[in-house]
């Protein structure tokens, strides 16, 4: 019981943080989802993603100074790719928020936030490596885990492994 109370208080704080962002950006972001584990919202107007990111980092009552994670996601049913970013505010506030940003599966791209949080640099490269999400404005967008000449994006749902890599058979 005690724990449930703590979580809901966290969600309340996150909701308060959300309303500050919502006040500024209005319909550019979606409604607040009071998910007990990780409350989140989605960026609807993706062309304002960097702007929202800077606002979240610098606003005196938000201070999301810590990007805990940035993960790529594939949504084949919607024909989209996306990222989920987890933010916290170290030493300032207890609120936590996750932000989802999506782009088209073919030929879509997202704004990079690598210069807002340096953590995003490698994480965006990983999302590019695994899902093929392009990040505009990223200082060095190239593969980070797979070899540079790897074909395809391994974590996409429809990924098929290549037959040969440098003359070595890949499938079992």
């Amino acid at each position: 019981m005690e724990e449930g109370k703590v979580i809901s208080q966290l969600v309340q704080e996150s909701a308060a943080a959300y309303s500050i962002i919502h006040e500024k950006f209005g319909s550019a972001i979606s409604d607040f989802d009071a998910n007990g584990t990780m409350p989140f919202f989605e960026v609807v107007d993706t062309s304002r993603w960097t702007e929202i990111a800077l606002f979240m980092r610098d606003h005196p009552r938000l201070k999301f100074n810590y990007m805990a994670c940035l993960s790529g996601v594939d949504y084949p049913a919607e024909g989209k790719l996306g990222i989920v970013c987890n933010f916290e505010s170290l030493t300032h506030f207890h609120h936590k928020l996750a932000v989802k940003v999506k782009c088209a599966r073919d030929g879509g791209s997202l704004q990079s936030v690598a210069l807002v949080w340096h953590t995003a640099n490698w994480h965006e490269r990983e999302a590019y490596d695994m899902f093929g999400i392009l990040f505009t404005g990223h200082p060095e967008l190239k593969r980070i885990l797979c070899p540079d000449d790897w074909v395809g994006y391994p974590l996409r749902k429809d990924y098929k492994v290549q037959d040969q890599y440098h003359g070595i058979k890949v499938p079992y």
Partner: protein, 189 residues
Amino acid sequence: MGLLDAGITKHNMLITSVDNVLNWARLSSLWPMGFGLACCAIEMMATNASNYDLERFGIFPRSSPRQSDLMIVAGTVTMKMAERVIRLYEQMPEPRYVLSMGSCSNCGGPYWEHGYHVLKGVDRIIPVDVYVPGCPPRPESLIGGLMKIQELIRMEQIGISRADALKKLSEKSVDPQFIIERERKAVGA
């Protein structure tokens, strides 16, 4: 039988074949290359350390392929690593031996189906002499594998090929099930 067990008398003179001396020298100082690729390497390090003490067999890891005659492929060989493994293998002087340790390097292990980045068996790129199964193999199994390499060296002769030596070795193979049953009976299990 070891050479020294023969008992040396007559002014330390001893008559044996050149093959015997060479093989004895080589199998008593097998130097593996000191490199590990994944979790299996932890077990290999444990085997090298004091509890299992590989040095009692004269097995001591070297830090250069140029000084090694045995490659223990301990762990997951990724596609990225595969080409490096080939290069390291080619840098080793002959005669050289390869021991594939663990399911990953035997056949891809847990990554056999969905591991797009894993080489499904190091024998796709370099010739393997002995496979040690397990995920990871216990140090005892690794020692067992190393002793198989020693046996293989014992089978070698000047003028016969590695393939012939391996054939001679496989002719001497025993059925492990039989030994397990026998040991079980002996302890009354």
